[in-house]
């Protein structure tokens, strides 16, 4: 049975949202999604899923604080402590299992409330072996960037080109918070964080909330004239041990893609998609993830970047939305936001960044430092 996206609600990203609480942002995203799907959540949504982690929120048991603003009071609702695409996948499974006909999936970031972002990230590292080493956790990204660039024969300049591309794309996306015109030299000249990682290689944080309404095939056709079908989902984790996992390649995303492609019957990823929204919480993550997804052949990624393949107007536009580098890093909402961006593209609602003739797209996420967990969704319109 197919599952379709029939409602999309995204609160425009902002670096800080001091005048609204996280409850109010969630409410706004939910209201937008329910209006888009034209449904009453109190009667027509059978199950609600929130993607959240306690420490990001500053609560114990954040699940307590989810029902009221989503219209989920006295209804089935739960939290998935994972990325938005993992939450989306659980919604798809609930529908296929016959437990629900319509599911609302929510993810948000009110990261501007958090004063000690790096401290919380460090708190996710192994408490015996890694956390006591101290320092900014960005050294993990610096080490990984170094390992990846050597293995893939990419330069820091190639990564800088990705930063300029994504932040440029964000300038014409009304939902983005960090659009800016940069040139490669600006990125290369930005202060080092953990060599070769520089300040502008890191996606800046932002606040948002995203709600998607999913429906079983028959219901989706009634609710939307042209639902965006979730043709395949996959999620996977590599080892939590920094010492034993793959550093030069994103094994988690390779496995997740395998699962999603097999369900979506994608045989040749390079020719199936008209666009891809791929996690880029750090600049080097975009090419690393493209290789893991089979969207760029290992060894020829540098050439493709230099030829403009992934630019808006290129053969395979990647992060036309601006990605995390341009829109902002919205932690667990990152994946769900990218699914929303692909859905808007496939519906033809992507405004000035619209890619003509987009029928099939892909969204891929990574949970960020220090995890090796990612998820993939293959989306399409039409039959």
């Amino acid at each position: 049975m197919r599952v379709g996206i029939v409602g999309v609600g995204v609160v425009p990203f902002r670096p800080a949202t001091p005048e609204y609480s996280w409850k109010e942002i969630m409410y706004e995203a939910a209201s937008r999604a329910y209006a888009d799907a034209d449904i009453n959540p109190r009667e027509e949504v059978d199950s609600f899923i929130t993607c959240a982690e306690d420490y990001w929120e500053g609560f114990g048991i954040f699940d307590e604080f989810t029902p009221d603003q989503l219209g989920a009071v006295l209804r089935p609702a739960c939290t998935v402590t994972g990325d938005g695409i993992q939450g989306l996948a659980q919604g798809v499974l609930q529908i296929r299992a016959g437990l629900a006909d319509v599911v609302a999936v929510e993810a948000h970031s009110k990261i501007s409330d958090l004063l000690t972002y790096e401290g919380v990230v460090r708190h996710a590292m192994d408490p015996i072996w890694n956390k006591p080493l101290g320092g900014s956790p960005y050294y993990l990204a610096g080490l990984e960037m170094d390992a990846y660039l050597r293995a893939a024969k990419l330069s820091e300049r190639d990564c800088a080109a990705i930063v300029t591309k994504n932040r440029q794309n964000a300038r014409t996306n009304e939902r983005a918070a960090h659009g800016v015109k940069l040139d490669v030299e600006d990125v290369l000249a930005s202060p080092p964080i953990s060599t070769p990682l520089k300040e502008l290689d890191v996606a800046p944080l932002a606040d948002t909330a995203v709600v998607l309404v999913l429906a079983a095939e028959a219901r989706a056709k009634k609710l939307a004239s042209d639902p965006v079908w979730i043709r395949g989902v996959g999620w996977n984790s590599d080892s939590p041990w920094l010492e034993t996992r793959e550093w030069a390649e994103a094994k988690y995303l390779e496995n997740a893609a395998k699962m999603a492609y097999s369900e979506a019957k994608v045989r040749s990823p390079t020719s199936e998609f008209q666009l891809a929204e791929v996690d880029d919480k750090f600049s080097y993550k975009e090419p690393q993830h493209l290789e893991a997804l089979g969207l760029s052949k290992k060894g020829s990624t540098a050439k493709a970047i230099r030829a403009g393949t992934f630019e808006l107007g290129g053969d395979l536009p990647v992060n036309a939305s601006g990605g995390s580098l341009g829109c902002g890093n919205v932690i667990e909402a990152s994946g769900l936001h990218r699914v929303a961006e692909v859905a808007l593209q496939l519906r033809g609602h992507a405004g000035r960044n619209q890619i003509d003739g987009a029928r099939t797209g892909l969204a891929a996420s990574w949970r960020g430092l220090p995890t090796a967990t990612g998820a993939v969704a293959v989306l399409g319109v039409g039959r």
Binding site: V73, A77, C78
Partner: protein
């Protein structure tokens, strides 16, 4: 819809402080569950993890940290979280992994390591309140449960001795459980009544202890059960879950409406319209003794206010007409929050497959129900299983 079965279960000892790390506890429970099903980790297609607040273990994204202990490396792995309700909710997530047709064999692992939290795990519960309305009052869980217990006792004119009888029953039942932390064959209602007053009317022995522990289940499709010739699978007949408003002060605490709705969802799927007649035994969530009574009523196993009467009359004893918490429950075996899956869904599996040993209900049983309860007294998850 595909039929889904539980085909193996495992759990660690429940103790105030285990020397094993969280990862090791997960591994031990997972290993035991796989061994009991005659499988290895290579037979598992996906892993579901459950645990309550990260602050107990003191690790952000603890699901990621513990995933290798759970056998999740290189597999689809996801953590679900509904506070204390996770104990029965992660098996529901395991159920939909298989029922959807996406996977044939799923491992569900729940873990809780409360002892890492110093000086006492109760301090984590200082961070579960609304930061504006509740937190300035510095509430803790014992206080609000005392309010709920008092409301329940007042509305139904329940005697304290009838509530304490639940603690006595469960701690005595736990004598037969090899993992039990607080089993006591000689405990009496007077012992409970004379234990230290925590927050009136709640005494120390009305409350389950903080514990370390892990538990695991193997959940598989009908095809898998047939192909692997699994002996005595126990089938999921119905699942349900429901959340009430965050604003707990707006609710009448005498009855868990969220549980009644979760049960309705599960009973509809299990085709149960008269739970008292169609259900043979129950494992309601019992972190406090009054909660067993509260939950029996929410589950529709008796009329509102009738649960203390059934307890007094011995109906809920292991050899009674409606055995309730034959495992010994959280009060007797221990309360490592999410890991109590092992004495809730795990007990349903062991009882219905005839593997409960000294805890085995002496008469014939076909259908069991269990629930867990969590968040701010607002969430319940329900599972109905049949042999």
């Amino acid at each position: 819809m595909r039929k889904v079965a539980c085909i193996g279960a495992g759990m660690t000892l429940f103790r105030r402080r285990l020397l094993e790390t969280g990862k090791e506890m997960c591994w031990e429970a997972a290993r035991m569950a796989l061994d009991s099903a005659g499988l290895t980790i290579d037979d598992v297609d996906a892993v579901v993890f459950g645990s309550a607040p990260d602050a107990f273990d003191g690790i952000h994204m603890k699901g990621e940290n513990l995933l290798d202990g759970c056998g999740g490396v290189g597999k689809p792995y996801v953590r679900v979280f509904t506070g204390g309700g996770t104990a029965v909710f992660s098996p529901i997530a395991g159920y939909w992994h298989v029922a959807s047709g996406a996977f044939d064999c799923v491992l569900v692992v729940n873990e809780e390591k409360m002892s890492s939290c110093q000086p006492h795990p109760q301090s984590v519960f200082g961070h579960i309140w609304d930061p504006i309305l509740d937190r300035p009052l510095k509430p803790n869980l014992v206080w609000i449960f005392a309010m709920e217990m008092n409301r329940y006792m007042t509305v139904h004119k329940v005697r304290y001795e009838d509530v304490a009888a639940v603690a006595v029953k469960n701690k005595r039942n736990a004598v037969a459980h090899p993992c039990a932390q607080l089993a006591d064959p000689n405990i009496t209602v007077d012992d409970v009544k004379n234990s230290e007053m925590m927050a009136w009317p709640v005494r120390r022995l009305d409350i389950s202890p903080p514990s370390d522990g892990a538990s695991a289940l193997v959940i598989a499709s009908e095809d898998f059960v047939r192909k692997r010739k699994v002996e005595s699978p126990v089938w999921f007949s119905g699942v349900g879950w429901c959340i009430d408003t965050t604003m707990w002060t707006d609710r009448d605490l005498y009855f868990p409406e969220y549980l009644a709705r979760a049960a309705k969802m599960a009973y509809k799927q299990a085709r149960i319209d008269d739970p008292r007649k169609q259900i043979d035994f129950a494992e309601p969530y019992d972190p406090f003794d009054y909660k067993e009574l509260h939950h029996m009523e929410g589950l529709g196993l008796c009329k509102k206010g009738e649960a203390p009467v059934l307890t007094r009359e011995g109906v809920t004893q292991r050899d009674g007409d409606l055995p309730t918490c034959p495992s010994g429950g959280l009060l007797g075996v221990g309360n490592p929050i999410a890991a109590t899956m092992g004495i809730k869904v795990g007990e349903l599996y062991w009882q219905l497959s005839g593997q409960a040993g000294k805890r085995q209900i002496p008469h014939e049983i076909h259908t069991g129900v269990t629930n867990a309860w969590g968040d701010l007294m607002q969430f319940s998850s329900v599972v109905v299983m049949r042999a």
